[in-house]
Amino acid sequence: MLPPELLRVRRRSGRINLQLARDEALSLAKTLILVYEEHIGLTRGELREALGSCEELGFDYKLVRGLSVVLEERCDFLSRASVDPVKARKAVFEEAGGRVVATEEERNRVLSTVAFRLGVSVHELDRSLYADLDDEQELAEFFVIEPTDLLKGYNLASTVTLLAHAGHVELTYRGRDEGLVENGEKLGSCDVSASGSLSKMVVEWKPTNLIAYKAVNLESLLDRILSHSWWRLTAQVWFPSKAKKPYVFEATHEDAGEVMGSLPIVERRVADVPIVPEPLPGIRGEIVDVAEEALRLGVTEAEVMRRLEGRGLVDIGGVLISRGKLDEVEEALRDARDMRLGALIAVLRRVGARNPVSLLEAMGYSIDWAPDRKQSVVYRLRKKAV
């Protein structure tokens, strides 16, 4: 997925078109790949400076940055710290103390004293000083791809980003595809109908702030449809997200199928190392509001989802919940006599929901907001397929 501000779109007469990267961008793709290759062993800051220069090659800067985002996913950056940077700084600054360090000799004297104390070389200490900064990380590995693949990956990422702002997607394709339907169901309510050799899938979800979370599932959906020889996609897109009306976006196997594709999977060496489950600070309970957790932990929604893999939680659309708890919640809601929000919040809190409103919305309930929030009437929109 790309940052939305890097999308290149044109809007006209209620339609929105993506400016995809085509052959004329091949030379730029080659240059960027070369820049990344040449910066292996250098810092992210140095790489950024070089990429900044590429913005002056005459291409749209959004294209340059968008392609860089795709390439960045194929990079491994490592910290160059030999000692904890915060400790290194404290030791060095205290050693320098009240002295004025104005010459290289004086600086080396201070660094040598501290390096000896910490058991590292002066060079290692110097490199560690600000190694915790993003710009100081070293590009350790870059997984090269072909320029044509880069353009395809960029086009796919652009389409995913735009569709993440949709609320209604219609997909027509030849034949039947259960895998595709599974992908659709992960996005929202999904209806499939067949007419002759054609199938039509309509997926709907409420426009959401969980753009990154939607993008993960959209990527799988697009990846799957790209394997079909004939397809047509129509979507209603709110882009930018504050747009007052939706725009119509269309893509077909003819215009997009050829220039879009998933990138070859990166086979990172670390994959050979047994993966130790990360400690999950704070992700507790059987009901997890993905956006809220992401905000609290300072990570992306996709990262929260990744961390919760294997816990047996069911994704009901932005909220993950255990089967047992889901039954409990459904029973509690079924038994509720008072369908006003205030009463339902109390009911849901009792079964352990920390964010009852998100839970209600994820379960397919709608809220008719009243001036007094507690008096808002809650009603069931649809039976949520779980």
Binding site: G58, R89, E95, G98, V100, A102, R107, D126, D372
Partner: protein, 443 residues
């Protein structure tokens, strides 16, 4: 009988009209914005109407005792605030003791009070200060905490997000660094809280940008104002401001001329002239769709980078510190990149927005105790943070904002016996930075 209640940022009256109230035909009530609460009560009292007031739902403030003794100008500012009906803005330079004025005001009114501040660091500072002064527990709303007490400190962000829920819990709101309040997202704090008593504090409030007018309704007029020069020597340290013009190195000058020349040539070719900040904004927006404009902007930025971060400035800084080794110095820059360069080269502790909280606290503590004699920073220490006493401020680079300049100057003005504060501003000669320097000192 008229019954007044609070509902999500509004005062709702049933049973009769209220001033500023719009009739809601569905409920038959009158709804007025919360900040009019005080005027509504005054109007009902004046008209001798019978009413029940269920608006306020806050806590009772315990008795507060304090040992604060105000200086003469602080007494005057508090009197002025009282005279204007406990509403209004006090403008005093950094280091002149605005906090104690607010503490005295809270103590005198003895009502539930919310202090709104721009950063989490300031939340900690105010909480500590209120607890130390009054010996009571203080609530905090912001940074993951949501505990409301009779005395509560909140960030602008949290006070704004929770305005609908907290708007009727306080009788006094103190807006620290009140110049932030007119911003679109924060203005609703002023509108959605019912607090009849309001105090705004700031070191700088422009007379030109309309912020005074926009604060009039929601906080009040400026009731007391003194500038640095009026307090220097008596309550603040004597100070000098020196502007040192430095030439770029030959290579830097060549590079600067090339970049800035490219930018100027583009403007002249297209007949673009900047008559206001808005014109410049339009130009920046244009760079999103016009590649040539973008190249010109990038060339300008490269040139300004050279002017702001020139190597001759760093050489001068080294000399300055060598000749004043005993001075406690704060070095300010515009960009973090320069902060880290100086920190690395001269082994000076640095503070930026990326500095972990514990490290920042340790550096400020070390500076206070004398363990460190210098700190290099970008913009995070410009306002609010309680920076220990320093006597030398060096501005390596900054914006054209006079507010930033005054705040940076304020960092060295805390009074100490025999102290002569110095602010040294380094400007690259013959570059657009000279214009920025003039602009920030124009005030």
């Amino acid at each position: 009988m008229i019954v007044l209640t609070y509902d999500g940022g509004n005062v709702v009256a049933s049973g009769g009209r209220i001033p500023y109230g719009k009739h809601d035909p569905d409920s038959g009530t009158y709804v007025a914005p919360a900040f009019r609460y005080r005027e509504i009560l005054e109007d009902l009292d004046r008209r001798n109407l019978e009413y029940r007031d269920d608006v306020y739902q806050g806590l009772t403030c315990p008795a507060l005792s304090s040992s604060i003794e105000l200086r003469d100008y602080q007494v005057k500012s508090l009197e002025a605030w009282r005279k204007s009906g406990t509403r209004g803005v006090v403008v005093l330079p950094t280091g002149a003791g605005k906090t104690v004025i607010a503490l005295k005001g809270i103590q005198e009114l003895r009502v539930s009070a919310l202090v709104v501040v721009p950063t989490l660091v300031l939340v900690d500072q105010w909480k500590r200060r209120l607890e130390d002064e009054f010996g009571v527990k203080v609530g905090v709303v912001g940074g993951g905490s949501r505990q409301v007490r009779a005395l509560t400190v909140a960030t602008y962000d949290s006070a704004s997000i929770n305005a609908a829920k907290m708007g009727n819990l306080f009788k006094l709101v103190v807006f620290d660094e009140v110049h932030h309040l007119p911003a679109v997202s924060y203005r609703q704090i002023g509108l959605m809280y019912t607090a009849p008593h309001r105090l705004g504090l700031t070191a700088t409030l422009s007379k030109k940008d309309g912020s005074r007018a926009s604060l009039r309704d929601i906080v009040g007029d400026v009731v007391y104002e003194m500038n640095v020069d009026e307090l220097a020597g008596v309550h603040l340290s004597d100070y000098t401001v020196e502007t040192v013009h430095l030439s770029l190195s030959a290579d830097e000058q060549q590079e600067y001329d090339r970049g800035y020349g490219q930018y100027r040539a583009f403007l002249s070719r297209r007949g673009i002239r900047f008559r206001s900040a808005r014109d410049y904004q339009r130009f920046v927006m244009r760079t999103g769709r016009d590649p040539e404009a973008r190249r010109a902007l990038l060339a300008r930025n490269r040139a300004m980078d050279i002017a702001l971060n020139s190597s001759t400035k760093i050489d001068y800084l080294k000399e300055l510190i060598l000749t004043n080794p005993e001075d406690k110095a704060l070095v300010f820059t515009r960009h973090n990149k320069l902060v880290y360069r100086i920190s690395r080269e001269m082994l000076i502790p640095s503070i930026t927005h990326q500095t972990p909280k514990e490290e920042r606290t340790d550096i400020l503590r070390g500076f206070r105790s004398g363990r460190y004699r210098r700190i290099v920073t970008s913009r995070v220490l410009d306002e609010g943070v309680d920076v220990p006493d320093a006597s030398l401020a060096v501005i390596l680079s900054g914006s054209g904002s006079s507010r930033q300049f005054i705040q940076r100057l304020g960092r060295v003005l805390r009074k100490r016996e025999g102290k002569q504060a110095r602010l040294v501003e380094l400007v690259s000669r013959g570059t657009a930075e000279t214009y920025q320097s003039r602009r920030r000192k124009r005030g």
